[in-house]
Amino acid sequence: MKRFSPMLKAVIVLTFAAILAPIVVVIGVSFNPTSSFSVNFGGMSLRWYQAFFAGDTFAKALFRISLPIALASAICATLIGALAAIAIVRFRFAGKELLETAFMLPLFIPSILLGAALYLFFSRFNAGGTYASLIIGHTLLGIPYVIRVVSAGLFGIGTTVEEAAMSLGCNRVTAFRKVVLPLLRSSLLSGAIFAFMVSFSDINLALFVSGPNTTTMPLQIFSEIVWQGDPTVAAASTIQIVLVSSLVLLVQKAFRVRLAF
């Protein structure tokens, strides 16, 4: 612990204010009674939330597209990513280092390029714009998060409990299932939540891979802003902000995962 100078404290407060400013402002706009993109300190209105749920486009983008796709990608990313993490952390085999680097590739390739590459690839088979194409892309984006969180969890558990179980007569699979898996639950859930959020807020990939029937909510927000929509956009944004904040809080408080990656 250390005492900080008032100057430093002021700089910290200002920096956090700037990081949070755009998010706070969007929430403000969503309660604006008029139809301009501005924060109105005079009155409050819930009309844009009514418009959100009454209208077709946004409610569909949220409930029929973004949420199902995020859920499916999170499940796929957690299953595939956890298996890869177990192989990397627990076992030795030739070419492991190379594989480990390759496994972080989706993070190194900028997601707009992954989007462009997938779009041009799918268009060879006329398979673009489907749920499957988005789920595949988002699964790729989510897996590195799952691998990081689950590897950290596996390191933390160590091998002793597993060895104890095996010396008491379990085989490796049973030992893992009965002893390690229950201990790994919070890491798996945190990984899944991160994969969910990555998919839910992604726009770079969706810009390319979404089709007319699979417009995700961030993409819908983007096109409404470009075409001069009304503050329903802000209401949609606020719904995402609230959902994401609660999930981050859940990971931090309930699963006690340290947020710094």
């Binding site: 993109f37 190194f108 690839f121 807020s201 770079n204 983007f222």
Partner: protein, 302 residues
């Protein structure tokens, strides 16, 4: 923002203590599903991108399979080249601003109480997980002609004070907000490892705070600084939405051009070669940066 995990404290601390692994050839098949996924939906699509970048554009069928280098020649003259230069400039300015803004924040988080740390990390990670389009939208509302800043200054009697929407400055502001957490996290991880007594010793020997920073904290946090710079730069040169909303026509970046060529002008060979150039740039920067970074890596302090 997926890039946030490229260099992580979790992994570096995990690598430090050598893990107990079991020789187990059959178990490597656990990694097979992910390997196949990467092969089918990353490696092959990227190879396909490389192939299309050599095709000839055709007005009637999007491409013809006659191989040519014409697209790459176009990338390096005139408009596209200028676009690449602007992209690199915006990335560089954003990164420098993040270094300046990131150090105080990272230092604070590395040295504050457990309670302040958990609040601080929440305030840092939560915005990172909110879609970039929402954050760009927020800046539009703040910086616009009738935006929050101008309305407030008018109410106080100063009249409109800023008109920076649709400029590079607006894009840089939007990007800083996006990539600053990516600078702060590796910096924080590096600064945490510097024991407090080194700072105290430096102060005892008569160094002023800035001198302590320059001679003790800065050299010892260089590895974190390097990963932060790499993250910030690579993320900020490959964006679409932020320049589209905050920069308009005046601050278009490579990402916007790739998007328009793919979706609007259907010039897929051109879009592919621009993408290949961006991939090459990213790899050169990451590889070069890691090489420079290694030189500065020191033995961890005990």
């Amino acid at each position: 923002m997926p890039a946030s995990m490229r260099s992580t404290s979790a992994s570096s601390s995990a690598e430090a203590e050598s893990p107990r692994t079991v020789p187990g050839k059959p178990w490597m098949w656990l990694a097979a599903p992910y390997f196949l996924l990467l092969l089918a939906f990353l490696a092959i699509p990227l190879a396909n991108l490389g192939l299309i970048s050599l095709y000839t554009r055709s007005a009637s069928a999007i491409w013809s399979t006659d191989l040519t280098l014409q697209n790459y020649r176009q990338v390096f003259d005139g408009y596209y080249f200028y676009l690449i230069l602007r992209t690199l400039r915006i990335g560089a300015v954003t990164t420098v601003c993040c270094v300046v803004l990131g150090y105080p924040l990272a230092y604070f988080l590395a040295r504050c109480s457990q309670r302040a740390l958990s609040i601080g990390l929440f305030l840092l990670v939560m915005p990172l997980m909110v879609s970039t389009v929402i954050r760009a939208f927020g800046w539009m509302v703040i910086l616009g002609k009738k935006g929050v800043i101008n309305t407030m200054s008018q109410a106080l009697g100063f009249g409109p004070v800023i008109n920076i929407m649709y400029t590079e400055t607006a894009v840089v502001i939007g990007l800083i907000q996006i990539v600053l957490p990516l600078m702060v996290m590796p910096l924080m991880a590096a600064l945490e490892k510097v024991p407090l007594y080194l700072e105290e010793a430096s102060a005892n020997l008569g160094a002023r705070p800035l001198e302590t920073f320059r001679k003790v904290l800065l050299p010892l946090s260089l590895p974190g600084l390097f990963s932060g710079i790499l993250l910030c730069f690579t993320v900020s040169v490959s964006v679409v939405v932020t320049p589209a909303l905050l920069g308009g026509r005046n601050a278009r970046m490579i990402g916007n051009e790739i998007y328009d060529q793919v979706i609007a002008s259907l010039n897929w060979p051109m879009a592919s070669s621009l993408s290949m150039v961006l991939i090459a740039l990213t790899f050169v920067i990451v590889a070069g940066g890691q090489r420079v970074g290694k030189r500065f890596r020191r033995e961890p302090l005990r």
